[in-house]
């Protein structure tokens, strides 16, 4: 019985290939080729970046990732401050952006009337279409002076005892970069969150309301609690974008390779130092060190995107009731 079943299953598989028309076969080859081409492209990029980064990694070893020294004239490179800058600016961005994004998504999906949610949702997604150089220039010419003259004096007065808000207000710096990044990643997080919330069956909500829950309790119990993993996926996608953002950050972060806790202080990220120094790097070691930074960023992006996929797919499986 089992043998019969296996042959009947196998036959359509085999015959599908054999019955292919010539045009179909050519089409099959072409699309297969493009798919493999993408794989080859990605792998060859990794190989090229690795070979270019090798001299710096060999010269400095692990020291490259754990020391802070970026001396272009003395040919001595350590990327710790850049890694710190990337991570810290992304954290600031997430702290600002996540509550806003989740709030926007909740409002548009659950509370707003249809005539309002459509245009506002469209506008939020439009934010993603603005070129990053425009964000950068806006940050430098509008946001930074505003932060310096209005926001930072207020923060210093209210929270000046915290090391996060120490020092003279300069406008540009970690805080400014974080705010610009937050605006840039909000559309990503908000639109994924909206999809996640929309995937929750109406019955779940009705059940909560039927039990006498208020609107807020219904949102808390049946929407937010059931979509935690989906929201986490959305946040990781936003984080991936924040890690890699180059131009806007370069314009407003102040570009100094230093590790300071204060958000008023200028900093430098992995992406911004590439934008700053790659075109005019003279010494081979300098170029190699910059490529090593690029490699580092490449790995981080792959890991972040991979984990976002993983979390989201787990969420989808649960939605379909497979887990």
């Amino acid at each position: 019985m089992s043998q019969v079943a296996s042959t009947t299953e196998a036959i359509p598989q085999r015959s599908r290939r054999r019955d292919l028309h010539l045009a179909d076969r050519i089409f099959y080859r072409v699309v297969k080729g493009t798919a493999w081409g993408m794989m080859v492209l990605l792998l060859s990029m990794i190989v090229v970046i690795m070979t270019m980064a090798w001299p710096a990694l060999k010269e400095f070893g692990l020291r490259f990732f754990v020391t802070n020294d970026w001396d272009t004239l003395g040919d001595s490179f350590g990327a710790l401050a850049l890694i710190y800058g990337t991570v810290m600016s992304s954290i600031v961005a997430l702290v600002i952006s996540v509550p806003v994004s989740v709030g926007v998504a909740l409002f548009l999906n659950e509370l707003a009337p249809r005539w309002l949610s459509k245009p506002v949702g469209f506008l939020v997604e439009m934010l993603a279409a603005i070129p990053s150089i425009v964000y950068g220039l806006w940050g430098l010419y509008v946001l930074a002076p505003f932060l310096r003259s209005e926001v930072q004096p207020f923060l210093s007065e209210a929270f000046g005892f915290l090391p996060l808000f120490e020092g003279p207000p300069l406008g540009v710096g970690m805080l400014c970069a974080g705010v610009v990044l937050a605006i840039m990643i909000t559309p990503t997080i908000a639109s994924v969150c909206r999809e996640v919330f929309a995937a929750i069956p109406v019955a779940v909500r009705e059940a909560a309301l039927g039990l006498g829950a208020t609107r807020w309790e219904m949102l808390r119990i049946s929407v937010l609690r059931t979509s935690v993993s989906g929201v986490v996926g959305a946040v990781i996608l936003g984080l991936g974008r924040a890690f890699g953002e180059t131009m806007a950050v370069t314009m407003v972060i102040g570009n100094i390779e230093q590790i300071k806790l204060s958000l008023y202080e200028p900093a430098q990220t992995m992406a911004s130092i590439l934008a700053n120094q790659y075109a005019e790097a003279d010494s081979d070691l300098h170029l190699s060190a910059l490529t090593a930074i690029g490699f580092c960023l490449f790995v981080v992006s792959l890991v972040v995107n991979g984990s976002a996929r993983f979390v989201v797919s787990k969420f989808e499986k649960r939605e379909r009731g497979e887990v």
Binding site: W70, D71, T72, L73, G74, L137, L140, Y141, A144, P145, R148, P168, L170, G171, V172, T250, M251, G254, N255, I256, P266, Q268, S272, A275, N276, Q277, A279, E280, A281, D282
Partner: protein, 342 residues
């Protein structure tokens, strides 16, 4: 109906026109410095009217990239703001010539609340500001130089500098290294250096943005940028002891003043030049060409370079570039004529 049948015809003629042009012209490609790009791009498009058989393609990818592409042989000529180092020249199998084309200079711009008149600074004070040693605008060192200016009390100095590798930074740090031994020892000369203080901004527009938006800021930008945006500029004390504001003529004067000391390959720094009217933070920008070139391309390139030394120089001031001083042109011409063909 008539218009519809006209469209494919027009497209056909257009394609034909482009293809015949592309086939007929000798294509010369170059890449490098972005600072002289507006001037070069004007030159190359004007030169199309002079000699229709040449098309020069230039990409402004930056001096470092320009030198790398040129050494690899992907381009016919390179362009760089800083002269190539001996180590880089040694990488080339064939001799390379430096052809100065125009001059770059760095202006120091500032934003001091209430100060309208031009600020005067000496080299020493300038170095101390950019090293973070002088921290406030009413420091006696600055006040003594500017008795007529009312400097604000307790106004901190915010140093703004380039964060991207740039020829502008090279010229500026080269100057500071010449006039301050402390600078030379601790920081040095380079397209990007380890700055002891200040905020980094990308590009001239970034530095200008920082200076404009931060009361008490001081920064340096390319002269062309400062002139076309009418930024306030510092009058710097030159070697002859005169306070000079940067301008097209004071920059040309710097090359003129340094003429006797110029080596025959033109690879020299002309910062802190002698000469009464010389602005001290200036430098040449170069085209890099091979001493021996393939015949067709070489002849066309030499013709272009000769044109650039004559008619080309006249176009410079309108674009706020300082032309080479007249005294230098014959020397460069001789160098260009020395290019041989194989």
């Amino acid at each position: 109906m008539k218009t519809i049948s006209f469209v494919p015809f027009a497209v056909y003629t257009f394609v034909l026109l482009i293809s015949t042009q592309a086939v007929g012209a000798q294509l010369i490609s170059g890449a490098g410095a972005s600072f002289p790009y507006p001037l070069y791009s004007k030159w190359f498009s004007e030169y199309r009217h002079v000699d229709k058989s040449v098309k020069i393609n230039y990409q402004s990818i930056g001096s470092g990239g320009g030198i790398r592409q040129f050494l690899k042989g992907t381009t016919d000529f390179g362009a760089s703001d800083a002269p190539m180092k001996d180590k880089e020249l040694a990488k080339s199998k064939q001799p390379i010539l430096h052809i100065p084309t125009t001059m770059g200079a760095v202006a120091v711009t500032y934003n001091i609340p209430g100060v309208k008149t031009s600020l005067k600074l000496t080299p020493d004070v300038l170095a101390q500001i950019f090293m973070g040693k002088i921290k406030t605008w009413n420091d006696p060192a600055i006040a003594n130089l500017n008795p007529q200016v009312k400097l604000p009390e307790k106004q901190y100095i915010v140093v703004a500098r380039r964060s991207d590798g740039s020829g502008t930074t090279y010229i500026f740090t080269d100057y500071l290294s010449k006039i301050s031994s402390a600078w030379k020892e601790k920081i040095g000369t380079g397209k990007s250096v380890k700055w002891p203080t200040g905020l980094g901004a990308k590009g001239n527009e970034g530095v200008t943005g920082l200076v404009k938006n931060n009361p008490g800021a001081i920064g340096y930008v390319e002269l062309t940028y400062a002139l076309s945006n009418q930024l306030p500029v510092v009058a710097l004390k030159n070697k002859a002891g005169k306070f000079v504001v940067p301008s097209v003529s004071s920059v040309s004067a710097a090359a003129d003043g340094q003429l006797k000391e110029l080596p025959s390959d033109f690879r020299a720094s002309i910062t802190n030049a002698s000469g009464q009217n010389a602005y001290p933070v200036a430098a040449f920008t170069y085209l890099l060409v091979h001493q021996h070139m393939p015949k067709e391309k070489g002849q066309k390139l030499v013709q272009f370079l000769k044109w650039a030394m004559a008619d080309g120089q006249k176009m410079a001031p309108a674009l706020m570039y300082a032309p080479l001083p007249k005294s230098l042109i014959p020397k460069v011409m001789k160098k260009v004529e020395g290019i041989s063909f194989k």
